[in-house]
């Protein structure tokens, strides 16, 4: 009885896993489904057209073989068949190329769309920001404590939207390759010092202490200081933001052979092992981070990676969940 019970269930599991594999293969073969994903009709979809071309090549080879065998004495007919088949292949290839062009165009339009929408959002957002500030300043009417609480919520959320729009604009510029590096000489230690100073209020409000260990003696870097500021700011913001309760952020700067090494260590929530491979992807936000902190667009580290790699540097991190993270980058002194 017992054996009887186990045996069929074992079979069932096996059957199930086989079914899963079969489904996986089917889904890969499901060209109609893949084309739907792109929002393209079949005759414009590269995957489908490739299949058509493959079948056509096999069939036409067989036809040529048959024709060649039969009309071996009549080379004109063989040549004409070959020309006809080559012309058909050429037409299919042209259609495929066009469909790829259309996909590339759709991608470009997407980036442009993001750019236009973000630009359009900026005006109402700055209006909103200044009107809220005007109300909060007490210039209109004395503000009660209760009202002030709500004004603060308005201001904070407007700020979040402004940041998100700014990030989206940078991402669309990166994707449209319209985010060129503007190189100039500057001292990295000064830049970091200035950014830390700018974050002092935010850190104090979050009960976080920032320690700057500077082992670099005023090395001049030749790079884009505006873009590097975005990266440093992103590291600092993340470090402060993801510390629960009281904590310390250690910022280190040192000179290596041909580069400057910068790192930010925090005692924050850390990144779970399974999420680590996705951390530099666009819009990715770790599940544990979402529990602690709803703010953040998931774009900062993607932007940081693009900037550092374009500058000829390297970027990376070490992290352990519930212990903290260390994000670092290197930047060549003369790039």
């Amino acid at each position: 009885m017992k054996i009887n019970f186990i045996f069929p269930s074992f079979l069932f599991i096996n059957k199930n896993s086989r079914l899963m594999k079969f489904k996986e293969i089917l889904s890969q073969l499901n060209i109609a489904g893949q084309c739907r994903k792109y929002g393209l009709p079949l005759w414009q979809c590269p995957q489908f057209l490739f299949l058509v071309m493959g079948i056509f090549i096999i069939v036409s080879t067989l036809i040529i073989y048959a024709v060649g065998n039969r009309y071996i004495e009549d080379p004109e007919i063989v040549a004409l068949t070959v020309i006809l088949i080559a012309a058909t292949l050429f037409i299919i290839a042209t259609v495929i190329t066009n469909s790829f062009e259309r996909l590339a165009e759709a991608n470009r339009m997407k980036s442009e769309f993001v750019s236009v929408v973000s630009h359009q959002l900026r005006s109402p957002l700055s209006n909103l920001k200044w009107v809220v500030e005007f109300l909060m300043s007490g210039r209109v009417k004395e503000v009660s404590k209760k009202q002030m609480e709500y004004f603060k919520i308005l201001k904070e959320n407007t700020g979040r939207m402004t940041e998100l729009v700014a990030d989206l604009l940078i991402v669309s510029r990166i994707e449209q390759k319209k985010f060129p590096l503007k190189k100039e000489g500057f001292i990295m230690a000064d830049l970091v010092g200035e950014m830390i100073k700018g974050k002092e209020i935010f850190a104090r409000a979050s009960n976080v202490e920032i320690k700057f260990e500077n082992k670099d003696d005023l090395t001049e870097i030749f790079g884009d200081s505006f873009q590097l500021k975005l990266v440093v700011e992103n590291f600092l913001d993340n470090a402060i933001r993801y510390i629960k309760g009281k904590g310390t952020v250690k910022v280190r700067l040192r000179k290596q052979k041909k580069s400057i090494y910068f790192e930010v260590e925090d005692s924050g929530v850390g990144i779970p092992q399974e999420d680590q491979k996705y951390i530099f992807q666009r819009f990715f936000r770790s599940a544990n981070v979402m529990r602690h902190q709803t703010e953040g667009s998931g774009l900062g580290l993607y932007i940081a990676k693009s900037i550092i790699e374009k500058s000829g540097g390297k970027i990376g991190f070490n992290s352990q969940e519930n212990k903290g993270s260390t994000f670092w980058f290197t930047i060549p002194i003369k790039s």
Binding site: R122, S123, N127, V131, F134, R139
Partner: protein
């Protein structure tokens, strides 16, 4: 009161605000009034140029994306005309490309402010500084 009895310091300084967002016109109008300035509004580039010529303000706040005449062209014309070329112009815009900043400064703008980066009070401070108060 005869004109010679008016102390020069008591004459309100005027600021021309060329900006198509009426929400900003309203907010700045109120703030600048409280700061003791008279504000003149222009909702597009064409009116802006006409008012600059007619009223000769002490300072011009100029947006760049404007109906009818673009901010850069307004700036160029202001700096070319005899009557308006000495007036300080603060560009107040959402455009933040380096090319836009360079262009505006090249054309003769005193300061270039990106709206998203400044608070209301900071903008007021910049205005006071540019107008010499």
């Amino acid at each position: 009161m005869p004109i010679w009895l008016i102390n020069a310091d008591t004459i309100m300084k005027t600021i021309l605000f060329i900006e198509d967002e009426s929400a900003l016109q309203k907010t700045f109008g109120e703030v600048l009034k409280q700061e003791g300035y008279e504000m003149i509004s222009a909702l597009d580039g064409e009116i802006g140029l006409r008012l600059a010529e007619a009223k000769k303000p002490d300072l011009i706040l100029l947006d760049l994306i404007l109906p009818k005449i673009h901010g850069f062209d307004v700036l160029k014309k202001l700096k070319q005309a005899e009557g308006t070329k000495h007036i300080s112009v603060i560009v107040l815009t959402n455009l933040e490309g380096m090319r836009d900043v360079d262009m505006a400064l090249e054309l003769g703008a005193t300061t270039y402010l990106v709206k998203a980066q400044y608070s209301l009070e900071e903008v007021v401070e910049k205005i006071k500084k540019a107008i010499g108060d």
